[in-house]
Amino acid sequence: MHGATASRKSLTEWLVSIPTVVWLLVFFVVPTLTIFAIAFRPVNLDGGIGTGWTLETWRGLANPNYPSIVWRTVRLSVATTFICLALAVPCGYFMARVRESWRQALLLLVVVPFWTNFLVRVFAWRELLHPEGWLKQGLVFLGLAAPEAQLLYNEYAVLLVLVYTHLPFAILPIYAAAEKFDFRLTEAARDLGAGALRAFWNVFIPGINRGLLTAFLVVFIPALGSYVIPDIMGGPSSKMIGNKIAQRTFSDRNWPHASGLSALLTLAVLGPMVVVLMLQGRRQPAANKEGPA
């Protein structure tokens, strides 16, 4: 009896998930596998894909210039993620603590930047940091920057704009988790002798771990694949993997090579995701258990 209902339920679940599965197959699995496949094709001199199979691309990926680019990509992505989380946690905490009427306004402020096109916002930063830009001039005026200092076209400019663009994506899931957090738990910790910071660290941070994991994924993964930001804000010495892929695709017209880099990036992204999903999965059974065991 119980088994019959269970199997009918799982059948329904399967039927309901068919559109999602088809969507993922057509627009995610097939293209990804195609890219993997192209990486094993030879280069066509016209800028297309040749026939037959070869490992030439993979030998080419052992390019001595790549390790530094990979290292820079990882470094910038980790730094972006870390800074975004460090800024988003206090933001989310604050937003969850203020009055209801304020929350809506603050939430709106977080989302407002999306009303302006992403490219426009990135170019706006270029204007600000430009040697003639008023931010640069202001810093020079305040004595915080040397007149000859180059604020643009370096790794710091890239990092700044990476943090700027990804911050809302970190704030939203952390706020969502903080909003559901039961603040009587931090009160209980204070009551038991913990200082405000200690209570925050011991009780609030573990309490919003789902939000933190989500924020980590939605910042770190897009940051790894960044292309536009290092292209516009960075100089020749601050290129990321995304820029290399673009260069191989558009300038060199070496599609197999670009596909190989893409495939590597995909694997690099899947790595942390699998780890996170496993961490979440391990937490799940305990959380789902109901009542006394």
Partner: protein
């Protein structure tokens, strides 16, 4: 003066915006006492408790713990611990870690923590469940873990914020006894917030009845039930019949006659020295009233009324009657005589006599329950 007082609250006022949650409250709680703050929701009892715990700061007044001013001390520096209404156990920690938390914060030695936690687990009889998470145990068990987590810090005062509200009736009754036993065992001051008069009366040494941010009365269970000082206390603690009247004549130094519109004249015990012609509320508890088909023997201190039975509810241990007399519908609780031998039980529509002794009626200064301002002006009773 502070020697035997554990907690002293001196002229404390707390406002949230334009709302005054606690209005100039003063009270002293003795060391080792089981003290309850009792009142309807929104009466300020929880706010008062949160100020003692340190989660809220009063705008005016002072809080003393063992004679020491703690008004501005953060919660982590007060030697008080709280049992929260929802228990607030840390969901990501095992029960063991939950209980050990206070000692870990206090940087006690590993061996000492282990010993103390085990002692606490034994006290609450949950040694077996020590490594479960809070969402794997029942409400009553969470309650006990919350108690252990607080008591392990050896607080001078334990604050309990409606700790039984989330439990079902049977469990609540059992936890009531457990709380009482724990209080006897540890011997520290308990301050207990509840809206349930039954809980408050069965546990407390003394009770403060609160209403509208003020304390209406402080006393033992018996005092607030048998001798309520205001209409609010009489109405909130148990059931009562209210009569509105005017003092018509003084009979002697102890008794006066009160004219109740729509009922007639009744004799009242004048314990409050209420002046002639003053409007009053008279409160008579249902169990103080007697009911019978025959007129009782005359007695100058008995008030006898005749009426018609409108409703009867059999409640097992007693029966409740509603009797219409004049403009009033009076409720009477009567324990049963020898039920089967009673020649004629009282039935609906029966003509009956009801009576009570003058000493069992309480005269209270009259006020409208919505008119909280009057509570601050006892010298100026409302006009009828």
């Amino acid at each position: 003066m502070t020697e035997e007082n554990s907690v002293e609250i001196v002229n404390v006022t707390k406002r949230f915006g334009s709302f005054t949650a606690v209005n100039n409250v003063s009270l002293s709680i003795r060391r080792g006492e089981f003290f309850s703050l009792l009142g309807p929701s929104g009466c300020g009892k929880t706010t008062l408790l949160r100020m003692i715990a340190g989660f809220e700061q009063p705008q005016e007044g002072q809080l003393l713990l063992n004679g020491e001013d703690i008004t501005r001390l953060p919660p982590n520096e007060r030697k008080v611990n709280t049992i929260f209404q929802s228990y607030a156990l840390f969901p990501h920690m095992t029960l063991w870690d939950n209980i050990a938390y206070g000692l870990k914060i206090a940087r006690r030695g590993k061996a000492e923590i282990k010993q103390e936690v085990e002692k606490m687990l034994a006290l609450i009889q949950m040694e077996e469940q020590a490594y479960k998470k809070p969402d794997q145990i029942s409400g009553g068990q969470k309650q006990r873990v919350a108690i252990a987590r607080a008591l392990i810090n050896k607080p001078q005062v334990l604050l309990l914020d409606e700790p039984l509200a989330a439990l079902d009736l049977k469990l609540r009754q059992r936890m009531l006894i457990e709380l009482d036993n724990i209080h006897d065992e540890v011997g520290i001051t308990f301050i207990y917030v509840t809206h349930d008069q039954g809980e408050a009366m069965s546990l407390s040494d003394r009770i403060a009845v609160m209403n509208g941010g003020r304390i209406e009365q402080i006393g033992t269970s018996g005092e607030i039930y048998e001798a309520p000082r205001s209409s609010f206390v009489a109405a909130f603690i148990g059931d009562t019949n209210f009569f509105e009247g005017v003092v018509a004549a003084e009979l002697d130094k102890d008794y006066n006659r009160t004219r109740v519109e729509g009922l007639g004249d009744v004799v009242c015990f004048n314990d409050k020295n209420i002046q002639l012609n003053a409007p009053i509320h008279l409160s008579v508890r249902p169990e103080k009233l007697r009911i019978s088909r025959d007129r009782p023997d005359p007695n100058p201190h008995f008030n006898v009324l005749s009426g018609v039975v409108e409703d009867i509810v059999y409640l097992g241990s007693h029966t409740r009657y509603w009797v219409r007399t004049g403009d009033y519908r009076i409720s009477i609780n009567q324990q049963h005589g020898r039920f089967l031998l009673d020649e004629r039980a009282i039935k609906w529509k029966d003509q009956v006599f009801i009576w009570w002794h003058a000493d069992d009626g309480f005269m209270l200064e009259q006020y409208s329950e919505h008119d909280e301002l009057l509570m601050t002006l006892p010298d100026a009773p409302a006009k009828p």
